[in-house]
Structure formats: structure tokens, C-alpha cells
């Protein structure tokens, strides 16, 4: 038996699963952490990104540029959605869920009418490498690299820039932030646009691993949703990292011990266990403990 190849394979699967969760959820959790809404149409923004990447790639655009265009298109769509709809539902979790869910149906059905039900494809770039008897796709590791880069990038944006400082202020006390000259509306629009753009980039990148169709987003929304809920809104970036690390671990183990399907189902079970112990998510739990220890 090829011992080394098997070990590498486990890690490869783990990183692949984590990358999937992070990329699908990163834009969503950014918006949730910042504004307390869950955008159920996030998967459809990914779908838009996937189409833009595929169409521009097929028209001769190089892959990185096609992905950047996917991000721009989804970001622009996100800004329009925020301005017209989401703005009215900040910090109303249930209403925002219903409204954006409706929007997701409109978007996917709209694309169905516009482009038809047939799927599009984009080849997976970068080939593969092998360890022993096992063969691994290089592109999957690129996905993981991008996922980590997104987490680090967002963390730095919110930690070290004036925009990040204004955003934190707007999150903690929007009225006071306004009284210090922060245009909170613009902060929200920017954040929503950024989260949407990240979704578009993720969609563009997943277009190279999955068939693109009007219902593309539906393969990502449930897991993204679970990751966000497990992560919690108190510290979106940390929450996402913890949630993805945990869920991907569970999935990798169970799908190897049993099968892919059980691996998928076990994510729900793992989420259930966490929510029993930490009803508002991992990062909420950690933040609250940190606050308590600070007060002592």
C-alpha cells in the first residue's frame, strides 16, 4: 500500500474541502458579520460570476482576467441589489432572508429564461501532480491558496485600514459613527459590494471545476449558509476560518471512513453539535469569553 500517497491524499482532500467552504462562504459571512443580513442570493451572485468567467474565457480572455471580470460583475450586481433592496432590511435577519431568497429565485429563473438550461464548461487549468499511485489536481491547491489569501486579505483590510476602522465603528454604533463623519450607508454599500465581488470571484473559480448552469449557485448555498451560521457574526473572518477548519475536518474523515454522501451529511451533524454548544456560532462564543476575561 502506498502510505505516503494516502497521507497526502487525506491532506489534499482536507484542503480541497476547506477551500470549497471558505470560497463559498467568504462573501456571505463578510456581509453577515458587518450588517446582520444573510444574502440568500449569494449563490446566484456566484452563478453570475461563473457565467461571466466562462463567457469571457470562451471569447478569448485569459483565465485570471476572466476571474477578475467575474468579481467585478458580481460586485456591481451586489451594489445594485444593496441599493434597491437589502438596504431596507439591515439587522432584520428573517425579512432579509425572505427577500433575498425571492431574489435568488428571480435571478436563477431569469438566467434560465435568458440563456436556457444547457450547461457551459470551462476546462480545469494547471494539470496534475502525483505522489505514489495518487494523482492530484494542481488547481485545487490554487483554490485553497486563494481561499487563504481572501481570509488574510479581509482580515488586513478590516484591521489595518481607515476603511476597516470606519466599518468597525459603523458596526458597533452606527449613530456615533455618523456623528464622526462616517457615511455609514456608503460603508454598507461598499462592504456588500465587496462581499458580492468575492462571491463572483469564487463563482468564476468554481466554473473551472463544475458545470455552469442557471442553478449553479444551489450547489454552494447550503454549505455556505451552514459555514456562516457555525462561524457566527461576532468576528466574521475568524469565524469563517474556524468553521471551515472544523467542518472540512469532519467531512474528510467521514467521507474516507464511509463515503462521499455520508461525508456531506456529516457536515450537517457536525454543525448541529456546534450549535447545541454555541448557539450563536464559534466566533460569538470566543468573543464573549474574551470580553468576560477582559472585564475581570
Amino acid at each position: 500500500m502506498d502510505f505516503v500517497g494516502q497521507i497526502v491524499s487525506y491532506f489534499y482532500q482536507y484542503f480541497d474541502n476547506a477551500a470549497f467552504l471558505i470560497l463559498a462562504a467568504v462573501g456571505l459571512i463578510l456581509i453577515y458579520g458587518m450588517m446582520g443580513v444573510i444574502n440568500m442570493a449569494h449563490g446566484e451572485l456566484m452563478m453570475i460570476g461563473a457565467y461571466v468567467a466562462t463567457l469571457t474565457y470562451n471569447a478569448g480572455t485569459p483565465v485570471p482576467l476572466a476571474i477578475a471580470l467575474a468579481g467585478c460583475a458580481a460586485g456591481a450586481a451586489g451594489i445594485i441589489i444593496e441599493r434597491l433592496i437589502v438596504r431596507h432590511f439591515y439587522n432584520q435577519l428573517l425579512s432579509s432572508l425572505v427577500v433575498t431568497w425571492g431574489l435568488s429565485l428571480i435571478l436563477s429563473q431569469g438566467v434560465l429564461v435568458l440563456l436556457g438550461p444547457s450547461t457551459m464548461n470551462m476546462p480545469t487549468p494547471l494539470g496534475s501532480f502525483s505522489v505514489g499511485d495518487f494523482s492530484f489536481g494542481v488547481y485545487r491547491m490554487v483554490l485553497f491558496g486563494v481561499a487563504v489569501a481572501m481570509i488574510v486579505g479581509i482580515w488586513m483590510l478590516f484591521r489595518y485600514t481607515a476603511f476597516g476602522n470606519r466599518a468597525h465603528a459603523a458596526m458597533e454604533n452606527p449613530r456615533m459613527a455618523e456623528a464622526l463623519g462616517v457615511n455609514t450607508r456608503r460603508v454598507y454599500t461598499t462592504t456588500f459590494g465587496l462581499g458580492s465581488a468575492l462571491g463572483g470571484i469564487a463563482g468564476g473559480m468554481f466554473a473551472m471545476t463544475a458545470a455552469v448552469s442557471p442553478f449553479f449557485g444551489q450547489s454552494y448555498t447550503p454549505l455556505a449558509f451552514i459555514t456562516v451560521v457555525i462561524g457566527g457574526g461576532a468576528n466574521a473572518v475568524l469565524g469563517l476560518a474556524y468553521a471551515a477548519a472544523y467542518l472540512a475536518g469532519v467531512q474528510t474523515i467521514t467521507s474516507n471512513v464511509f463515503n462521499q454522501y455520508i461525508g456531506y451529511v456529516s457536515i450537517m451533524a457536525a454543525a448541529f453539535v456546534v450549535l447545541l454548544a454555541m448557539p450563536s456560532g464559534i466566533s460569538d462564543f470566543i468573543e464573549r469569553r474574551r470580553m468576560r476575561s477582559m472585564q475581570r
Binding site: H168, R175, A177, E178, L180, N183
Partner: protein, 232 residues
Amino acid sequence: MMLELSSVCSGYGRVRIINDVSLTVSPGEIVAVIGRNGVGKTTLMKTIIGEVQTHSGTVTFRKQDVTALPTSARAKLGIGYVPQGRGIFSRLTVGANLALGTGVGTASQPNLERAFEFFPILKKRLRQPAGSMSGGEQQQLAIGRILVGEPDIMLLDEPSEGIQPSIVQEIGRTVRLLSRQQGLTVVIVEQNLSLIQAVADRCVVIDNGAVIATLAPDELDDPETAKTYLAI
């Protein structure tokens, strides 16, 4: 005029709290707004900064009608607001709180030195979460924060509330200094008689959302007058 309210009515939703208030504040002046609890002093401050909607009348700041402007735009024009309860971002560090003051007025760079000059304690606490500071320190941070920007006027709502007397005195001295040395105009809401008398050039008495009297600070020496107008 630095600030002028003419026939201003305002309140929460349709509920009217401020009723036909007219008030002018000259550059460099320190005006104390006094009155019992719940008469509308805080609502008046919120009306000036734009957090509470003006129903009728106009708010004019440095000859510009700001009645229709959102809060952030008023701040950018140079109105610095230090709310009751201080409005500190407790999860952010002291330094991050101070940096936000740049949004008051049109300063391009944060003037941290000015905040440190008047409140040296802030320099030692820069990296600490603001929520972990004492009430007095938080009050100093709230005032220091707007000094980091370029305010022409400071709206100060009950700075003495919940703060030990020695720090109240220090804040009084600082407010006086800011006005005399830096030409800062101040509107201060207060209940603390000694602080009022230490800083104010003029006292405006509010009752039931309206201005009912204007007094010189030393008129409050008379215990009867003080008792009528303050919540003592």
C-alpha cells in the same frame, strides 16, 4: 454667528419634543444648556447634529443651512458631538477611536498631538480596548477624539455624568482652555452647578422642549434659582 437655531421643532417620529427653540451661539462662546431631567436637552443636541429630525424651523451652522443635511455631512462641516454616555466604541482600541475623529471637520491628517496635549492619559492607553477604561478616561477620550479632527464647535452632553469630581474639574478647565486658547465654540449640557459656573458664559434654560430663560452663570448662586432650573 457660529450656530443659529430659528424656530426649531423636532422630535422622535411624529412625537414632538423640541418646541419652537431659537438660539444663537457666537464664535468662541461657551453656552450651557440647563434644565431638569427629560426636558429635551439631549434631544436638542441630537437635533443640532442631525440624529433627530427637524420638523420645522432651520439650523444654520456658519451661515450654511444644514437642516436637510445628514449627520455625517454636519460632522464634516465641523460640528463635533460628544454625546451623553460618551459614545465610545468599546471594542476598538483607544487609538482607533481617536483616528475616527479625523472625520470631524475637513482635516486630512489626524491631529493626535492636540488630543494628547489636553488629555495626556490617552497617549499611554493607545493600544488598549477603549471599553476597558474608566468612565472618566472614556469621557476624556470622547472629547479628545473630536480634537483629532477640526471642529469649530463642540456639543458636549453631560460630561460630568458618572465621573469622579476631580476629573470633572479637570474637564471643566480643559473646556475653558479650548475655548479661550483655541477659539473653540462650545455648547454644553450640564446639571453640575460648579461645572456650569466654571465654564459657561451664558446659560440657556430648557423646560418642556422650549427655552424659558437665559441666565448669567452667577445668577445660579441663588439657591432658589438653582433649584428651579436644575435637577438638584
